[in-house]
């Protein structure tokens, strides 16, 4: 045939693309390591016992720590879980177990999926209007509600997926034993999917525990211990990091910010990795 295309050129293009592919992976992984490494490098100095057990203090007062923010974050996050998990699980059960009205199911599933992609800052605005404005003050509880709204669709969808993996025969055999639908769902189906459900909840927890933007509109920040969870601004880690990093010119505060960032990052990554390992264990078991 007359004019053949050069195979050499095509092969070199292919090799070039393959090299670029490997480079892209290396770039992504190295950036990940770079970010984590930076946080460890700058943050580990701050990890003294006093830093972990003292509350935060305004600049100039010695021995400031992050204990109040850490407790506040734990309170806000678990508060969020307490609010979000029950309705999310029940909602997930509805999507997975009751197929009586396909239109409703698909509209709700769609809403949940769309909500999962909603910017968290909008959820902050929303909760500000429905909680902070009517009550007249910021509160840890408002922060919990905001995080709960983020968690809810995530857990609901993961619940639906996990329940969907339970074989249909299990439902039938439970019902055939004369168990009620409710009992079957709660005792048999949910029990069979328990690891998956837990995984969904933990991943959602990890995801919101580092969320910052909605807390700026709801929990805000305070240098006090988080005793005011229901009635006033409540200390928390992400907003502390933001304050120390952006609103302070002092190196000391920056260092405290890095320390706090390290603590949050370890928390989030630990939950994340541990959860994935747990779930993988389940897959191997079957």
């Amino acid at each position: 045939m007359k004019s053949k295309r050069s195979i050499t050129t095509r092969k070199w293009t292919d090799r070039l693309v393959r090299a670029f592919s490997a480079l892209a992976v290396a770039l992504a992984v190295l950036t990940m390591l770079w970010i984590i490494g930076t946080v460890i490098a700058y943050g580990h100095h701050a990890l003294r016992p006093s830093f972990l057990i003292n509350p935060s203090r305004p600049y100039g007062i010695a021995n400031g720590g992050i204990a109040n923010a850490l407790l506040g974050t734990i309170a806000i996050t678990f508060g969020a879980a307490a609010i979000a998990v029950p309705p999310a699980l029940l909602g997930g059960i509805y999507l997975s177990e009751y197929k009586d009205n396909r239109a409703i199911t698909s509209v709700l599933r769609f809403s949940a999926t769309v909500m999962m992609g909603m910017p968290s800052v909008i959820i902050g605005l929303f909760v500000y209007m429905i909680m902070v404005v009517p009550s007249g003050h910021f509160s840890g509880l408002a922060g919990s509600v905001a995080l709960a709204i983020i968690m809810y669709p995530v857990i609901m969808r993961s619940t639906e997926d996990m329940l969907g993996m339970v074989p249909y025969t299990l439902r039938e055999s439970a019902l055939a034993l004369g168990m009620t639908r409710t009992r079957t769902t709660l005792r048999i189906i949910s029990f069979a999917a328990r690891k998956g459900l837990l995984t969904g909840v933990l991943l959602a927890l990890a995801r919101v525990s580092g969320e910052t933007a909605p807390l700026l509109f709801t929990a805000l920040f305070a240098d006090s211990w988080p005793t005011n969870y229901f009635g006033g601004p409540t200390a928390n880690m992400p907003v502390l990091i933001t304050e120390y990093a952006t609103n302070s010119p002092f190196a000391e505060m920056h260092q405290a910010g890095w320390g706090a960032a390290l603590v949050v990052m370890m928390l989030v990554l630990t939950i994340n990795i541990a959860t994935r390992l747990l779930f993988r264990g389940q897959n191997d078991g079957h």
């Binding site: 045939m1 004019s3 053949k4 295309r5 195979i7 095509r10």
Partner: protein, 251 residues
């Protein structure tokens, strides 16, 4: 008749599992050679060595020699892109690319040749005619290749393979996913195509092998039990295993 392909002690491994054992086989030029045998006997595996498509998979490995026109194509020096242009392959299911009927063939052409628009169109038409598909699709060249019927899709794939001027066509159970009428068309097509191309067809259908092939090779558990002219294999097999298979005692 000249020998086109010659397998010399060809063995094949999936990881540590050996699937083919010292296959030796000569394939005549411009003839249809059928490869038959019970499923899992290695006939597709054997075929997939001819264009080195198995190399896509990390743990698959061939040893021995496969000579095409006297050149061992398993030699790493051999250019697989050029090899695959010369050795076209048709699969069990039709595999039209996600593009128009015209583009399906033009894409293959443009991959290997620099052609002016005019000539590209001519050659697409030629290929479609050669695959006796032109009359059916000449009004829907712009439609998606996936919109054709199964038999048409398979002939589109044949047209795509012959567009790039191959010498050999490998067909891996080309009619197993196609209805009987379309199957008949493809069988007729094979008889036409052997005027120009050397065809190796894997089939589980013995009637098909008898209808289309000049020579037949019988595979069993990775070994070539017997090969020779189809008429003789089917009427007067030398091996007991072949006879049992032909007469339908297993398989």
């Amino acid at each position: 008749m000249a020998t086109k392909i010659s397998a010399r002690n060809l063995s094949f491994f999936y990881g540590s599992h050996q699937a083919l054992f010292d296959n030796c086989l000569d394939i005549e030029e411009r003839r249809v050679t059928a490869v038959i045998g019970p499923s899992g006997c290695g006939k597709s595996t054997h075929l997939r060595i001819y264009n080195r498509i198995f190399e896509l998979y990390r743990d698959q490995r061939a040893s021995g020699e496969l000579l095409i026109d006297g050149v061992n194509i398993l030699d790493p020096q051999i250019d697989v892109l050029e090899l695959r242009r010369k050795v076209g392959m048709i699969f069990q299911k039709p595999t039209p690319f996600p593009m128009s009927v015209f583009e399906n063939i033009a894409y293959a052409l443009k991959l290997h040749f620099k052609l002016p628009r005019k000539e590209l169109q001519q050659r697409v038409e030629q290929a479609l005619r050669a695959a006796s598909l032109w009359d059916e699709v000449k009004d829907k060249l712009k439609n998606s290749g996936l919109a054709l019927s199964g038999g048409q899709q398979q002939r589109l794939c044949i047209a795509r393979a012959i567009a790039v001027e191959p010498e050999i066509l490998l067909m891996d159970e080309p009619t197993s996913a196609i209805d009987p009428v379309a199957t008949l068309k493809i069988e007729e097509l094979m008889l036409d195509l052997k005027e120009k191309y050397t065809i190796v067809v894997v089939t589980h259908n013995m009637q098909q092998a008898a209808r289309v092939s000049d020579n037949t090779a019988f595979f069993f558990k990775g070994h070539i039990i017997e090969d020779g002219p189809t008429a003789r294999i089917f009427t007067n097999p030398k091996q007991k295993k072949t006879e049992e298979y032909i007469t339908g005692r297993f398989g």
